[in-house]
Symmetry: C2
Subunit: 250 residues, 2 copies
């Protein structure tokens, strides 16, 4: 299989585009490709092209975009994953898997039980790291669409985003068994397949009771999967597979 | 939360049972519990009990089984996961996740593209390792039922097991996009919720064409998820979440 690169500037056959720095390094220093080598590029907005390496410079790699190639289909539900920031590398794994499972956007959330604050995330340039992981995952899994990896928000700000329609409805919050009186099973969630949805997944130990109450007051639907305790880092993949299957999208 | 141990000999309140060696080491040397400490035990067959440490010896740990405690519910579909052996630690991660997702049994399979043979698995005592991982996962996720971790089989033997009803039907083989002409989507799999099922998940690179053809000839249903390429180690969790959701079990 030809190597695949993220080329956000590729619009149409005939374009000559410069790769982002990470992609250029992967092409020239890791894979050691040279001018004339055939590659695939995707622009992150659903388009994929056959292409060739046109030039490999010290700082730039230029790609000659060829004919359009079939792009992997995207789910009909544009899911925004509102993901509580996890411990250690848990968020990295969750971002990687969420991209494979076709999310439209990832909104990291600092929740009560996330063991890290917004300032630490910003100092650590974690958003840049998650964007890199998302690009690597899209390259590997064959998606031509790059999910939007948003700047982390506090839980309260997330609810404001929902209230002001900056995040799509329905909003479905997944909660631990016994954490909420009004939670239903996924099978009991009577929501026909929407065009877009926000799916909220908590941190290790789950959402705090106050967060669940505020989400419910903000008209989030509460769902508890009929499963034992799932590892927090595996939860996004499990939840996304389950909701896509329940909406007939798999 | 009280520490939880696997005590296969616990049948009823009043029992005095000896823990398996690994469990005893966990209790005495890792957690340093002493006689009188309250614990939880599960017997792997769906029963859970409050209990106390009765005696901690050099070689044995005895547990006094107390009153029955509520056990986590099991899915109504008893799924046997026929899992192609994966590279490196991929199978370990897959076993861990499959236990969280409620499988009834795990049948490791040496397929054409598994990069390891039966003899190597036996020499490496991999089944014992997977059983340990399954116990650790059941302890952590709160399941009271221990899936049966079977001895690895060649793919041909798996088909014989299906033919001779040693594995449950329906049998659903998950194949990569484009790998089979007759594969349907999960939404297109017109199979009402069964009492038991066998779910076949392939290795890195997927099942070989000959394996797919033989499975189809053996009346396995072929399903391709409408997703891009999923990491092989993440595939069992994604497939299990998807089939349970599709059968209304989540």
């Amino acid at each position: 299989m030809k190597a695949r690169f993220y080329a956000p500037d590729a619009h149409a056959p005939g374009d000559l585009v410069v790769l982002p720095a990470d992609e250029a390094a992967h092409l020239s220093r890791v894979l050691r490709l040279v001018p004339g080598d055939p590659v695939r590029v995707f622009n992150g907005r659903g388009q994929e092209f056959d292409a060739r390496v046109a030039q490999v410079g010290r700082r730039d790699v230029q790609i000659a975009v060829g004919r359009a190639a079939p792009a992997a289909a995207e789910p009909r539900v544009a899911v925004t994953l509102a993901l509580a920031v996890l411990k250690a590398d848990g968020t990295d794994a969750a971002v990687r898997d969420a991209v494979m499972l076709g999310v439209a956007a990832i909104q990291p959330v600092v929740s009560h039980r996330s063991e890290v604050g917004l300032a630490t995330l910003e100092r650590g340039r974690r958003r840049v790291r998650w964007e890199r992981i998302a690009i690597a995952s899209a390259k590997q899994c064959g998606r031509a669409t790059m999910p939007d990896v948003r700047a982390p928000r506090r839980f309260e700000a997330l609810l404001e985003d929902l209230a002001e329609a900056r995040l799509p409805r329905p909003a479905v919050m997944f909660v631990e068994p016994g954490a909420a009186a009004h939670a239903v099973s996924l099978a009991g969630l009577d929501v026909p397949r929407p065009a877009a949805a926000t799916v909220l997944v908590g941190p290790e130990g789950g959402w705090a009771p106050g967060e669940i109450a505020r989400a419910e007051a903000a008209a989030c639907r509460l769902v508890t999967l009929r499963l034992p305790t799932i590892r927090a880092a595996a939860m996004p993949a499990v939840v996304l597979a389950a909701v896509l299957a329940a909406w007939g999208e798999l």
